[in-house]
């Protein structure tokens, strides 16, 4: 066991650091800087172009497909070094690299790979995810948006329905889309996967007003949207397998956000307690902070174990969901504690106190972290079933034609 870089990893880290030092500062967002989302997305593309030009795009992606073909640990090292700069990274680029690329690489035709992969790595094409629907969230396979063949012999598909929670759909170029093409078979079997140009007539995105005040999620309405059959990924009826490829990427990618515990310790250490000491003298506070810190470290080292598995060619499977489950819950608790420690200053900070504003945002945002990318309850089921080997849920809808289900 060695937690440190080996010689090869150290050399890679040095190379990454040197390149980032030369190229990242020009792209960095200023602290507290508020920019319109159109500009954020544009700057995200610019950073993607910079990465591509420098050979840092698609690090673990096969060389033959335009990536660098490196091992998992090197991608982690680059992410760690890149994370030291506050760069314009977010769903507007990561859905492309983390979700669209894996599914295209695995299920796409050679033409689709040639068309999308390099363009995505360069930031020329950005992506959104058109999966969830108003009545299909954790039960994604219950989705009702449908596609039927156009009656004109073109082989095109006509899509009608509604998608929701599609991050950045209003500013991205293409979407990955799963729809129902055969309601006469059980629900998982009647799905088909497409890529869709977001400028296609009939697609309308409406921002959702979120509890955080931001609106990065959208409702996307699809009305008689025509998609050429060439944009189908995989065979008809194989949409669920494509979804699984995407969702596995989502799970593995989660859990690498800012921590929250160390700044909170600093806050407690620098805030008077009214008895001549600081808040860090309070035993109850110390215990809560220490527990949160121990959990956070456990998550970090658990991730390190998973990365080691990946680098040895093992599949962490549902173990990856454990990190996400632990992280999201702890994030909510930690940010809740952060507000509580601030007392009234937490609910009404002084003008210019951006740090407390960040904590408030994170506390609100932590709610969606426990829901998106595998809700707590879904992850607990998966851990129980796939790690512990416990029975699956009773499913009333499993072997029944979708069209006979109530909905």
């Amino acid at each position: 066991m060695d937690f440190n870089d080996n010689a090869q990893e150290a050399a890679f880290r040095a190379e990454a650091r040197a390149w980032l030092a030369a190229h990242a500062p020009a792209h960095v967002l200023k602290p507290g800087e508020k920019i319109p989302d159109t500009e954020e997305a544009d700057r995200g593309r610019a950073w993607m172009r910079e990465l591509y030009a420098g050979g840092w795009s698609g690090l673990t992606f096969p060389k033959a497909l335009g990536g660098r073909g490196l091992s998992g640990p090197e991608a982690v090292i680059f992410a760690e070094e890149e994370g030291k700069y506050h760069l314009p990274k977010g769903p507007f680029t990561s859905i492309g690299t983390g979700m669209a690329l894996p599914v295209i690489a695995r299920h796409g035709s050679d033409e689709q790979k040639a068309r999308f992969i390099e363009a995505t790595l360069k930031g020329d094409i950005t992506w959104c995810q058109l999966f969830s629907e108003p009545s299909a969230g954790s039960d994604l396979a219950a989705l009702r948006t449908k596609a039927v063949r156009a009656g004109d012999g073109s082989g095109d598909w006509i899509v009608n329905g509604q998608k929701v929670w599609s991050s950045w759909a209003h500013l991205t170029d293409w979407g990955i889309l799963v729809v129902r093409t055969d309601p006469s078979v059980p629900k998982h079997k009647g799905l088909t996967f497409f890529v869709v140009d977001m400028k296609t007539p009939g697609i309308e995105t409406r921002p959702i007003r979120q509890i955080s005040g931001a609106s990065e999620f959208n409702e996307t309405f699809l009305t008689d949207v025509r998609i050429p059959d060439a944009n189908r990924l995989g065979a008809e009826g194989e949409g669920w397998a494509c979804c699984m490829t995407v969702l596995m990427g989502e799970r593995l990618g989660s859990g690498a956000h800012r921590s929250g515990v160390e700044p909170l310790i600093d806050y407690a250490a620098s805030t008077p307690d009214g008895y001549g000491g600081t808040m860090l003298d309070d035993r109850a506070i110390r215990q809560q902070l220490a527990e949160a810190l121990a959990e956070e470290q456990g998550e970090r080292f658990f991730q390190a174990r998973l990365r080691t598995m990946v680098s040895k060619g093992e599949n962490p499977g549902a173990l990856a969901g454990m990190v996400k489950l632990a992280y999201a819950g702890r994030y909510q608790k930690t940010n809740g504690l952060a507000l509580e420690l601030r007392g009234l200053a937490g609910i009404a900070p002084e003008v210019g106190d951006t740090a407390t504003g960040d904590v408030q945002y994170d506390y609100i945002y932590s709610t969606v972290m426990r829901i998106a990318g595998g809700a707590d309850e879904v992850l607990r089921n998966q851990i129980a079933e796939r790690v512990l080997g416990m029975p699956g849920e009773v499913r009333m809808d499993k072997d029944v034609p979708f069209e006979t289900l109530k909905g």
């Binding site: 440190n4 250490a269 860090l280 110390r286 658990f302 080691t308 089921n381 029975p391």
Partner: protein, 363 residues
Amino acid sequence: MNFDLSDEQKMLGEQARALLSDLSSFDRLRSLIDSGAEWDEPLWRALAEMGFLGAAIPEEHGGLGLGALDLGVIMEALGAANAAVPFTSSIILSAEAIRLAGSEAQKAAWLPKLASGESIATFAYAEGPGPVFATGATLAGGKLSGSKSPVADAGIADVAVVLVAGGGFALVELDQPGVTRTKLDSFDQLRAHYRLDFADAAAEAMPGTGKLDRLIDQAAVQAAFEAVGAAEACLHMARDYAMERQMFGRPLAGYQAIKHKLADVAVATELARSNAYYGGWAAESSPDDLPAAAAAARLSGIKCLELAARENLQVHGGIGYTFEANCHFYYRRERMLAVHLGNRGFWADRLLNAQPGSQGKAA
């Protein structure tokens, strides 16, 4: 980075588990309690024969000279079996205290005997209610005075390493007139505890000073491995029982109330294991990181085993409350492990004090 046990370490763990499943079954534990035995002596001899007792004792003193992670996989197996042996007292604490602070003569006198199992040592630190690492006992002119209580395994130990005033260690043989051992009523029925009274008992000072922190940090990492082993055993026991038990026409394990509970235990256990690995690595390779790593491992070890021991019994329902079911072994041991070496509050302090730039020591 390679954050996994080596193949040799995994094999060592398997050997330990195989030996323990042969010799330390639940029926064996029950018979030890019924016969009033303080420990499982045949198991101890078998552990000695396999070289496990001397795993981390230097080769020059009769051990194998292995590291903290090797010791950790053995501790994990001992925790899983809920073994009735003085491994923590004699090996993790006493042998290591002698290695860290003993004179060459003391090491030569005791380490080979502890490695072979010929002698047993215990580490005496608490002095009743109050601070867990207490220093009221005094050593002057080769005479030890004061009391230590409770002291695990003191009934079977030949020698004690005693924490004394000034923070140093004294070595005292227990079979002598100046030492009175009083057996206490131990909550963990498979780990006896004693009160030790010293009245001018003949004792030797250990020359090394300032070694307590290092000793208990290392022991905290090992305690975390033990807790992870025990927690995983509870998890599997609960899972297996729930798979078999039929309720309302289907296995109990099919209900989300049970699945989600055990998923939470599994997550807590894997987080604790991850912290234990890091602690073991830090103990071997990065001593500056050990204080924080040890405290995090200790805290998450306590947490996972507390959850696992409680929910294991709960999943068993009424049968879990019977002596014939096996949940109680872990349920009792968990409380012992949660407070030996200092409780949650003690290690929470240590974790915060180990943070870079921390000046915020609690009063």
